[in-house]
Amino acid sequence: MSRIISVHSFRGGTGKSNTTANLATLLAMDGYRVGVIDTDIQSPGIHVLFGLHEEDMKYSLNDYLWGKCEIQDTAHDITKNLGSTVSGQVLVIPKGQVFLIPSSIKVGEIARVLREGYDVGLLNDGFHDLVEKLELDVLMIDTHPGLNEETLLSISISDALIIVMRPDQQDYQGTGVTVEVARKLDVPRMYLLVNKAPTILDFADVKAKAEEIYNCEVAAVLPHSDEMMALASNGVFVAQFPEHPITIKLRNLARKLME
């Protein structure tokens, strides 16, 4: 049975898109067909992680919302970009596939969608059509930070929601709002992911406190990583560092999502 998984954060800069890209890649490594849709229409970015360039985007989510194409026409198979090489040796080749549905990165098109709005019902049809037409095992939705129409819709229809947060007071408050909304929308499974945690913190204590505050399972506490910073979005971390401790924690989360 296919699943829809949303990755959300209340504030920007939590590592939400990196988390989405990493989980999608790990699921593909486990043999799943994975779709990733970038609903961050006003500030798209996940295409960079997957190495998809503007000139290679024939259609984007914006084109679908404007009726220019079918939703499946916007899907780009970026699996080949996920095979990492070190010293000429290919380390990782996903057994499954990853399809990216990017949002437009053309300034005029971003301005247009913000000016005109769009049909949210059509977006929902698109989510379901993608799962069916691409025969996906998983559709991952990378959302815009905060709570807007597309974010609320993606939370509403998700089988699982991952809320990414940093151990920061502003994130703590905003995450509480998201958790409350998700509960009212009866999301079947919800996990917190505490990201970019300073290594001086006691991670077990961070996990326990977050679980107490939100009454929600913390799936992982991930440390700030110099390797990830140095990668600077020039690729998907788990493909470049398949045995890194962060990769191992994310792989555990990916597998938990498919249980």
């Binding site: 005029g108 301005a111 049909d119 509403s156 709002v177 909304v181």
Partner: protein
């Protein structure tokens, strides 16, 4: 003092359902109505061409017993769109269109104009 849902609702628009509803509206419904609306949002058949009450009864796990009355009320109040004629009327969630606005657009518009002044 308004709660967090009131403030979010104010951000997304007014409470007039004639132009459709948002998931926040659905979150505030009584349990039976909320369960039906969320199930319809999540079901492939119900999101595409809409779903008949008969099919909804067959497919929705533990559907409320008075589903006909609930669906008719939701449709009458603008929460659902009715498609086709009885007895084959199909229903789908009447999601409100995302409104355009000056917030955010203004900045991108200026950038677009500067980059592509002839567009």
């Amino acid at each position: 003092m308004p709660g967090i849902f009131d403030r979010l609702q104010a951000e997304l628009g007014d409470d007039d359902n004639s132009g459709g509803v948002t998931p926040l509206d659905i979150a505030d419904l009584p349990e039976a109505e909320r369960r039906i609306m969320l199930w319809m949002l999540r079901d492939r058949m119900a999101t595409g061409d809409g779903i008949t009450i008969g099919t909804l009864n067959e497919r929705m796990p533990s559907a409320p017993g008075d589903i006909l009355a609930i669906i008719e009320r939701l449709a009458r109040d603008g929460w659902l769109i009715s498609l086709g004629e009885p007895p084959n009327t199909r229903y789908k969630v009447n999601l409100r269109r995302k409104r355009g606005g000056a917030t955010g657009f203004g900045l991108w518009s200026i950038v677009a104009d500067r980059l592509n002044p002839n567009d």
